[in-house]
Amino acid sequence: MSGYQNHTNYFEYIISAGKDHLKHKFLDSAGGLFWAVFNPLFQIILFSLVFSNIFMPEKTGLNSFDAPYVVYLCIALVPWLIFSESVYESTNAIMDNGYYLKKMPLPTWIFVAKCNLAFFIYSCIGWICVLVFSFIMGVQPTLWWLISPFILLLFQLLAFGITLITSVLNVFIKDTSHGTALLLQLIFWSMPLVYYVNIVPLILRTIIDYHPVYIYLNALRSLIIKGECPSPLLLLACVVIPFVLIWIGISLQKHMEKDVRDII
């Protein structure tokens, strides 16, 4: 068949297009980076006000992490917000790049990869802010902090794996992106991100410990606040789950390429 390009060129494209994606997402708007920072900041302020002042969880002894609530919140919420936005946008990646796919012999997965890369860069910037904020709030840095970017990378690979699947489904069923948004809300509230895990009934806590999305966020909290490494089993899960999903996603994209191109 015709595809003449090699994967090296695709990776070059993914890297440069990922940077361009971020640039156009934030720098081209009138508010510039303001909006990039404001959106998660606003949510952090909102959740902090509601949960730390109204429910005052520190006083109830529910906090198993020895850190202010706002730090506890930020460490999980910032990566989650970027993750969820990444999943939502990447689900539309194939449809959004139809103008390329209609006219160039390109594999569909590169557009999903480009979108995820852009969000990984965004996530790294956000994470630096979180670390600086945690330090200011009195959390002592440890060597485990250096491991956190790898967890962040695995978290983004999880998003990549998920969106390789959802982006193809979205070509066939337009409602996929709406369904994804709804599912992200459900996943958000199913994890102790804004509330403490101790308020969850005991029977559910074990399930939460193995929540396929929460394991990454919990790992980040353990690394930063407790200065502890998550259990090897959880770390293994953090590595295996994204790669299994990526394998399924790429296989699905290849299997359905003919139909995807016909529809686009």
Binding site: M1, S2, G3, Y4, Q5, N6, N9, E12, Y13, S16, A17, D20, H24, D28, Y99, Y100, L101, K102, K103, M104, P105, L106, L169, F172, I173, K174, H255, M256, E257, K258, D259, R261, D262, I263
Partner: protein
Amino acid sequence: MTDKLLEIQNIYKKFYLYSSRLRRLFNALGLCSKGSKTQEIQALKDITFDLAKGECLGIIGPNGAGKSTLLKIISGCMVPTDGNVIQRGRILSLLELSAGFNLSLTGRENIFQSGKLLGYSIEELDRAIESIEAFADIGKFFDLPIKLYSSGMFARLGFSMYSHLPCEIFIIDETFAVGDIFFIQKCFLKLEDLMKQGQSILLVTHDMNAISKFCQRAMLINEGALEYIGDPKQAISQYYHLERSGKRVDDSKSNKNDPELQEQITQEMFPWPETSESCDMNSLGLRNANYFKVISFYCCDQNLKSCNSFHPGEKLLVFYEVEIVKFIGVPIGSIAIWNEKNISIYGKSTYQTKEANKKPLQSGQRLRFMHEITLSIAEGVYTIELGMAGIPEETLGQLDVMSDEMVHSQIIPDAVTNKATAFSVMFGSTRNIENSHHGLVNLKSSIKTYISNKE
């Protein structure tokens, strides 16, 4: 080592329609039975051809014939249902105007973005960018987001980029339709240049002049099937026949005229095409014909061969035969030629010539017409309008003393068709053509000169 850069082997393409998208998804996942497809559209049927190094192959056909689908399959943007595409070299496809550009990026950014996607290195793109910018000639717009571009600018940027990147096979689909005349000329010069450099070109266009000028071979696709491949002039002729009749061309069938009619033709002294294909009388569509029935209609060259492609100055012969259904006096046949912009550039009726029949005919009688026209007209595509009418015999005898209005008031119009057939006038590769005038038509004129030396 073969010099065929591209081999297309038995390409088939089917599109399926499903009752729902969910069903389509299940089918793509292999979870549905074959019977779940509600409708099947055969877009391409057994297409086989090849492209040699340095060759320009034109692809023509009516809208929806499958040309763009074929190009998408060759480019790798679509997967064939069956068949193989063997390529020996890099293919660049300029499929439609926007050529895979991102509207939010500038022209320059798009060149790099698309260039990288097409497999070119930054160094290659850096080398080409200046010549791309110069060729596109869109000034400051080159560094502005392309959402601000006009369609002409899109065409300029797309063609400029694709024609300046190194490749072995260049595919162009309908990119000359927009853009001003200067740009189109520039594009064709560039194409000539690329061909000289040994690049092979696949050109899809409705511009028959371009096919005639640039292609060594042309292929006609209709309803997904390859109807003809070979001489561009023949392909164009078959295309016009197809367009007019709305049917597939089958030489073996279309050359079989009615034997009885053939017998009559050879018996007459009146020149008449012997083997040409007559137009489909049903599709000729003489509207409201009460007095006439058209038996045959031919568009020929001076050798009485069916022809739809002429050079300026050549003779076009229109033959048609009608049967009188009801008495209408002296039958009048008229031919008019219209250009692409629907402007009538010529029209003449039999009552305006001395040689034509001046006698009234009874019902059941047949009359043959031969209309000879010297095509001293500009290059372009034209349609022929056939009109039939009647005029009282007495009126014909008094034409010299009657005003135009009076003559027109005496004519009994019967039927007219504005799409009897189409033909094109184009400069040939030999350049052995009439160079008698500039402009749309060669008006009857004379030029005199006088050397007025100062005494």
